[in-house]
C-alpha cells in the first residue's frame, strides 16, 4: 500500500505527463515541495524532541564518553555549511543530498525503533511511539522525494551511499545502550535539520508565484 503522499505524487506525475503533452501548465512542484517541507519539518520536530528527552537523562559520564558528532555515519557526506554555500548549490544537488541523507537513516531509525523497548528509560513507551511515527514520516518523505526528484533532472537521482555500521543492537550493557541511543539521536537530529533546510530552500526557490511564502 502506497502512502497517501506518494499516491498524490504519483498522480501529479501522471498529470504532469498529460500536461506536458497538452502543453498545459506544469504540475505544481512548489506545492509538492511545500508538502515535502511540511513532512520534513515534522520529521525534525520528532527527532528534536527525542534527542532532548534522552539527553536530559544522560548522566554526566555519558556526555563525556559520547562519541563526537564527527563520528556520525553521515558525516562523510559533504554538505553546504553556510548560507552562501547552500544558495550556490543547485536544486538537483540539494535534492540529491536530501535524499541521500534520508536514505542513510532508513535502517538506523529501524534499529532505534526496535531497541526502544529495551531501552532502560522510564518513558520508553512514548519514545517508542515517537520513533515509530518518525519512521513512518521518513518513509513517506522518501517516497515523495523520489517522485519529486524525477522531475528535477538526473542529478537529483544520484544517491550517495552512507552505510551504517552500528550494528543491529545498540550495546550490551545499559550505559552503552543509553550512550549509543543518545549519540544516534543527536546525529539524526542534525541530519533531519539539514534535510528540512534544503527542502525549504528548494521550496522558496520554486515559489516564484507565491512571494508570501518566502
Amino acid at each position: 500500500m502506497l502512502a497517501p503522499e506518494s499516491k498524490q505524487l504519483l498522480l501529479v506525475l501522471d498529470a504532469e505527463v498529460l500536461c506536458s503533452a497538452l502543453m498545459c501548465k506544469a504540475v505544481d512542484i512548489p506545492d509538492l515541495l511545500d508538502r515535502a517541507s511540511q513532512r520534513s519539518d515534522k520529521l525534525h520536530s520528532l527527532s528534536n524532541m527525542l534527542a532532548l528527552e534522552l539527553e536530559s537523562d544522560l548522566p554526566a559520564i555519558g556526555r563525556v564518553t559520547m562519541p563526537r558528532p564527527a563520528m556520525c555515519h553521515t558525516s562523510s557526506l559533504l554538505t553546504p555549511n553556510d548560507k552562501e554555500q547552500a544558495l550556490q548549490v543547485s536544486e538537483s544537488t540539494l535534492m540529491s543530498l536530501a535524499r541521500s541523507l534520508l536514505k542513510a537513516w532508513q535502517y538506523p531509525v529501524g534499529v532505534l525503533s526496535n531497541s526502544a523497548n529495551l531501552l532502560p528509560h522510564q518513558s520508553k513507551a512514548s519514545i517508542s511511539n515517537k520513533l515509530q511515527e518518525l519512521q513512518e514520516h521518513s518513509r513517506n518523505l522518501e517516497d515523495g522525494l523520489d517522485v519529486l526528484s524525477g522531475k528535477m533532472g538526473p542529478t537529483a537521482q544520484i544517491l550517495s551511499t552512507l552505510p551504517y555500521r552500528g550494528g543491529s543492537d545498540l550495546g550490551q550493557d545499559k550505559m552503552s545502550k543509553l550512550i549509543n541511543f543518545n549519540f544516534l539521536l543527536s546525529c539524526l537530529r542534525r541530519d533531519s535539520h539539514k534535510i528540512d533546510s534544503f527542502l525549504k530552500v528548494l521550496r522558496c526557490r520554486a515559489a516564484n508565484m507565491q512571494p508570501n511564502l518566502c
Binding site: 519539518d41 553556510d82 535539520h193 539539514k194 508570501n212
Partner: protein, 633 residues
C-alpha cells in the same frame, strides 16, 4: 646611574602597588561560565559568559574554540559586538551543522581559570530579532472598522531565499487592560483584527520564531485608537428592553389563555365521594327515602314472601362494654362515623335487657367474666387474625374482601379463633367459636350501621350500637367441612356473644313492622353448644306456653335470598334463613342458630345500604339481617 634610576622606579612602583593593594587578598581568577550562544539568522552567532571571581586582580578573558573535525584552536576575534563578556562569531567564522567546542579562559596575574567547554551547533541556537516596521491601520468593512497589522521580518533574517523560515505571533490589548490577546499568525506578514471596541485604544505587539528555534523578543508597542462607530450605546439597551418586554407580553398572554389548563395541571380538583345510584340532590332536598330508593335492590327476598307478618324484625342486641366500644372505634377508623352515630343512640328499647336478664345462661355465668376478659384479648387479636382454612378469609374485621358469604358478627364479642382447635373444652370451644365467628365475619363497612330498612323495619334510632346482623349467604358451593364446623362453632359463639356483654335492660324492643313481635333471648348454652333461646318478656307469655325452658331458635338455613331461616322449634317451621351447613344439623336435638355467610356487600359506613332486612324473631333475638350491611365496630 641610569640603571639605578630604573631600579628605583621599579621599586617605587612595586611599593606603590603594594600600598595600593594592601589589605586585599589575591588569588587566581574564578572559573568563568559560558551562559548561552545565540544566532539571529543562522549566519552569525554570539556567545556570552559569566565571569567568576577576579581574584582581586585584573582578569582577562579569552575565548577559544575548536570546530568539528579539526583540532585547530581558534580564538575569538570580536569581544565587543556582543557586549561585555561576549564573543561574536562573524559570517566567516560561522559554520552551520558543525559542532563548536568553546572554552573561556580567565587570566589574572596569579593564574588562569578555564571554563567548562560548551558544545554548540548553530542550527539549534537560532533566536531571531523581533520583526520590524509594525504598522497598524484602521480599515472599514461596511461601516464596521477593523485593524490591519503589517510588519517586516528582522532585517538580517533572510526569509526570501528560504534560508530561514519565520513564523509570527501578534498580541493585542486595550490600553487599560492587563491581559493580552495572542494571535498566531504563521508565515504571513499581514494580520486583521476584528471585534473592536468603539472608541478604544489598542496596543499591539509582534514577535517571531524560526521553524526550529527560539522566540524573539516582542516588538515595540504600536497604539491605535478605534473611532466611535457605534452611534449610541444606549440604543442597544433600549432595543433589548423593548424586545424583552414584547417577549414578556407574549408569554403572559399565552399563560392567560391556558390558565385553566394550567390550573387543572397544577391543582387538580379533589374528587369527592360518590356512591353509585345515590342521588345527592335528592338527599339534600330532604327526601331521604327517595334518595336511597335507587339503591334498593329490586327483588329483595322479602318481597317474595307472601305475608309480611311472617317477618319479624327482631334484633339480637348485644351489649358491648364501653371499653370495647372504644377499642373498636379506634381499631376501625374507617367506620368511626358509624360507630359514633351508633353509640350515641340511646338504646332503651334495644332489648338489651333481654340479654341481661336473669335468664341469661347462669351456667355460663362463670364463663362470662372469662369470656369477657378473653373477649378483650380476642378483640385485640381480632385484627391480627389470619385467614383460616375456611373458605372465608379475612385479615381483620375491617377488610371487606370476603370470598363467599359474610357473617356479620360482633367484633367486640367475637374474637379470632385461636389456631389450636384441638381443645374440646367447652369453654375453649366456645371461645373458639367466638373467634371463628369473628373470623368468618367480615363485615367491614357494613357493621352495625343503622341501616335504612325497608319501610316497616326498625328505624335507625331504635337500633343500638349493639345491633348485630347476621348476614347469611347462600353460597352453597362454598360449603365445606370446615365451614360446617365453623357454623357449628359460630352457633356456639353466637350463644356466648349473645350472652355476654349484654346489659340488663328489660326494655323490650318494639319493632313497628313485624306482626308477631317475638323476641328471643338467650337462655343458656346447652351442652351441645346450642344457644337456647327463649322469647322475651313482651311476647313471653305467648311463646312461653309453647316451650318451657327449651326455647331456642333453630336456623333452618339460608334461602336463596340470603335470608336466615330460623326455626322456633322442630315443630314450628317458620320461614327462616338457613345456614348453609344445616345439612349437618343434628335433627334430634341439636338446636342451634347457625350463621352462614352472606355474600359480600361492601359499603361505605356512612350510608348504610338499604337492603331489605330480613328480620326474624324466633325465640328471642335473632338478628337476621341478611342483606343488611352494618358498619363494623
Amino acid at each position: 646611574m641610569m640603571k639605578n634610576d630604573g631600579g628605583v622606579r621599579v621599586f617605587w612602583l612595586l611599593l606603590l602597588f603594594l600600598l595600593y593593594t594592601r589589605g586585599k587578598s589575591f588569588s587566581v581568577p574564578g572559573k568563568p561560565t559560558l551562559t548561552r550562544c545565540r544566532s539571529p539568522e543562522k549566519e552569525t552567532f554570539t556567545c556570552w559568559w559569566e565571569p567568576g571571581s577576579d581574584g582581586g586582580l585584573p582578569t582577562t578573558y579569552k575565548l577559544y574554540y575548536r570546530k568539528e573535525g579539526s583540532e585547530k584552536e581558534y580564538q575569538c576575534t570580536d569581544y565587543h559586538t556582543g557586549g561585555k563578556n561576549s564573543c561574536f562569531f562573524n559570517k566567516n567564522d560561522t559554520s552551520i551543522w558543525v559542532n563548536y567546542n568553546i572554552t573561556v579562559v580567565a587570566t589574572n596575574a596569579l593564574g588562569q581559570a578555564l571554563s567548562d567547554p560548551l558544545n554548540i551547533d548553530v542550527y539549534f541556537i537560532v533566536e531571531p530579532n523581533p520583526p520590524e516596521n509594525l504598522n497598524v491601520t484602521i480599515q472599514n468593512d461596511k461601516g464596521w472598522p477593523f485593524l490591519r497589522a503589517s510588519w517586516d521580518p528582522p532585517t538580517k533574517a533572510d526569509t526570501r531565499s528560504g534560508w530561514i523560515t519565520l513564523i509570527y505571533e501578534l498580541r493585542i490589548k486595550l490600553e487599560e487592560e492587563d491581559e493580552w490577546e495572542i494571535h498566531h499568525v504563521g508565515q504571513q506578514k499581514v494580520f486583521n483584527i476584528f471585534g473592536l471596541q468603539s472608541g478604544g485604544t489598542y496596543v499591539i505587539q509582534i514577535r517571531c520564531k524560526p521553524d526550529h528555534g527560539f522566540w524573539s523578543e516582542w516588538s515595540d508597542d504600536v497604539q491605535v485608537v478605534v473611532p466611535n462607530y457605534f452611534p449610541n450605546k444606549r440604543s442597544a439597551w433600549v432595543l433589548l428592553m423593548v424586545f424583552s418586554g414584547m417577549v414578556f407580553l407574549i408569554l403572559s398572554w399565552l399563560l392567560h389563555l391556558n390558565s385553566r389548563n394550567l390550573k387543572h395541571c397544577i391543582l387538580p380538583p379533589v374528587p369527592g365521594p360518590k356512591i353509585k345510584g345515590f342521588d345527592q340532590k335528592l338527599h339534600k332536598s330532604g327526601k331521604s327515602v327517595d334518595a336511597f330508593k335507587s339503591l334498593e335492590v329490586p327483588d329483595f327476598p322479602h318481597h317474595t314472601f307472601s305475608k309480611s307478618e311472617d317477618f319479624l324484625v327482631e334484633y339480637i342486641e348485644v351489649y358491648v362494654p364501653e371499653e370495647q366500644e372504644l377499642m373498636l372505634e379506634k381499631s376501625n377508623n374507617l367506620h368511626n362515623g358509624c360507630l359514633k352515630s351508633e353509640s350515641s343512640v340511646s338504646d332503651c328499647d334495644s332489648g338489651r335487657g333481654s340479654c341481661d336478664s336473669h335468664t341469661l345462661l347462669l351456667d355460663k355465668s362463670g364463663h362470662q367474666t372469662n369470656t369477657q376478659d378473653s373477649q378483650t384479648d380476642e378483640q385485640k387479636h381480632g385484627e391480627a387474625l389470619q385467614g383460616e382454612n375456611l373458605a372465608y378469609t379475612h385479615q381483620d374485621m375491617v377488610s371487606p374482601d370476603m370470598s363467599a358469604g359474610r357473617v356479620k358478627t360482633w367484633p367486640s364479642v367475637f374474637s379470632p379463633l385461636p389456631q389450636n382447635r384441638s381443645t374440646v373444652d367447652q369453654t375453649s370451644s366456645i371461645e373458639i367459636a367466638k373467634q371463628h365467628c369473628l373470623s368468618d365475619s367480615l363485615l367491614p363497612s357494613d357493621f352495625l350501621t343503622p341501616y335504612h330498612s325497608p319501610p316497616g323495619h326498625c328505624t335507625r334510632e331504635h337500633l343500638g350500637s349493639n345491633y348485630w346482623e347476621f348476614d347469611f349467604g347462600n353460597k352453597q358451593p362454598h360449603l365445606t367441612q370446615p365451614q360446617t364446623e365453623a357454623c357449628h362453632q359460630i352457633q356456639a359463639h353466637s350463644e356466648i356473644n349473645i350472652n355476654t356483654g349484654v346489659k340488663a335492660e328489660p326494655a323490650a324492643h318494639k319493632f313497628p313492622t313485624p306482626r308477631s313481635n317475638e323476641y328471643v333471648e338467650v337462655q343458656r348454652i346447652n351442652e351441645e353448644d346450642s344457644v337456647v333461646l327463649r322469647p322475651v318478656a313482651s311476647n313471653y307469655d305467648k311463646l312461653f306456653e309453647m316451650q318451657q325452658g327449651e326455647d331456642y331458635s333453630r336456623v333452618k338455613g339460608v334461602d336463596s335470598d340470603n335470608v336466615l331461616l330460623l326455626l322456633q322449634k322442630e315443630a314450628m317451621e317458620e320461614e327462616m334463613n338457613m345456614c348453609p351447613c344445616e345439612q349437618l344439623t343434628d335433627t334430634t336435638g341439636a338446636h342451634y342458630t347457625r350463621f352462614a355467610r352472606s355474600p359480600e356487600k361492601p359499603t361505605a359506613c356512612t350510608h348504610p345500604t338499604p337492603q331489605p332486612l330480613e328480620e326474624r324473631v324466633v325465640n328471642g333475638y335473632v338478628d337476621t339481617a341478611t342483606m343488611f350491611t352494618m358498619p363494623p365496630y
